[in-house]
Amino acid sequence: MSRYKQFIVVALACEAKPLIAHYKLKKRTQDSAFPCFENDPLSLIISGVGKVAAAAASAYIVATSDRPEFSSWLNVGIAGHQHHNIGRAFVAHKITDASSGRCFYPTHITDLPCPTAGIVTADKPVDDYPDDALVDMEASGFFETASRFSTTELIQSLKIVSDNAAHPATGINEKQVNALISAQLETIDDILRHQQQLAEELCTIHQAPAQYEAIASQWRFSHSEQIQLRDILRRWSVLNNGAQPTREDLRDCHKAKHVLLWLNAHLPDEHP
């Protein structure tokens, strides 16, 4: 099991279908609130249409996962734009909730496989597109909720243009949506790969020291003592070029606090 999860939130089953096939996701059988699919570390949820549904689904997928230390989030879906060609993909750089006026700003710290754009999240379908932004119905709910569970550098929203002033949304069918998403699988792969690298980087930085599990399970540490243990083992490792105390070192420790005392006493007291 990975220490991180990659959550994908889509509104429609026809948006999910090519992703489920491409990433070989299996349906989770225990879910009734939302259809969920997974193939560790990926989990996909179909939220239904609208920002409230997207927010609820985002909360659901993380609450029903194995409480990962780190998670990356990708919202994939279709959107309208006044003049962009159908099929073009954009990553959101600003998400504006149309009804509240609140704005969210996804941060991009890696190269992106496609251009960025502003997104306006509307409460209902619109046929008068704003000048300079894509229009969708989920991004603000998704982003606001996901940012409660992860750092914003790991949260992205990818929108594929499905309708524009010349080709309104009323004419779109499921088959077309499926095709639009399928055509951007490489783009999605690329974003997920970058997100995975960042999540793995965070996992490595915050990785528990090598001996932590073994020591924590051998003695009974309170919660605060566990935090102290983790901290002191990390300092041990950093200051001793990766060296960790051995079972033999701790043989005379009968209680958790004896372990902490011994570790503290044997930390290098001289700076490098």
């Binding site: 700003y105 940012s147 700076h271």
Partner: protein
Amino acid sequence: MIDTIYIEAAVADHPRTQEICARFPAATQIPCERYGEIFNRKAQNFRLQKKRPALILAAKHQNFVKEAPLGYAIGGQRNYYFSHMLNCLYDCRYCFLQGMFRSAHYILFVNYEDFQQEILSIAQQTPDEDVYFYSGYDCDSLALEPVTHFTEAFLPVFEKQTNAWLELRTKSTQVRGLLDRDPLQNCVVAFSLNPDAIARELEHKAPNLERRLQALEKCQTQGWPIGLRFDPLIYRADYREQYQALFDTVFSRVDADRVHSVSLGVFRLPEVYYKNTQKLYPDDKLFAEPLYKNNGVISYSPEQEAEMLSDCEQMLSAYLPDNKVFPCLL
């Protein structure tokens, strides 16, 4: 260098905004209402953002100039600082900015004129007394000079108000603007220096010691008052040898008689900033080393701190009179 520029609506038409945007034609421009929407929000990771910080162009509305904390001085009684910019191009591991701000994006307040007006107003209150203004408190004064044209805009103000002193504090080599004009005797170009091994270990993305010394030499040759800032001093078992070698090198390159001031201070961070930074860099030696809390500040033990300051002051006394050396007592 800059891929993304956030622009506050209020400064979208400001000439400085236009000029900076023109310098980065490929950058994505994203409008925002107030910079805090981006800079202050929760759920940001300073360490990750440092990989690719964006530039935020904004307006500052109040508190343009603040009183410097007690103990922050280079000879004057009246000391102020101002921050036309927040955050820094460099990534020094000991820097308090990474513990103070949630975001690593650079903020540039483009309404320089408001800062200048307040600087003049403060300086004019005591025309017969020198007033010191520090510009490198929340940023490096010169590192982004080609973008900000900070000195070009501010030096004329200090040229007219001669009781107002400006300290430019930097690790950068961006001194061309200074070399292209006549020096001001009330502007101290202060270079932050550490032994090369420590700089390489901790002062990521900053020019190495040799390049800083070259910039420093050029400024002094041109006639600019020079400041030397050995702050923070970093403890190493052989710190005496390392800092002695540094001082020997520096004073073999600069004319000590024409050095305006030297300041010293050991590595220290307010406890909150220390904890925030340690969370970002739990794998860094600087935060694994034994440190102590004293009056809400995390630093070396009081004895060690006193010893380091005393040792370094003594080493410096071979080159400079005591009245040019200012231990930072924060």
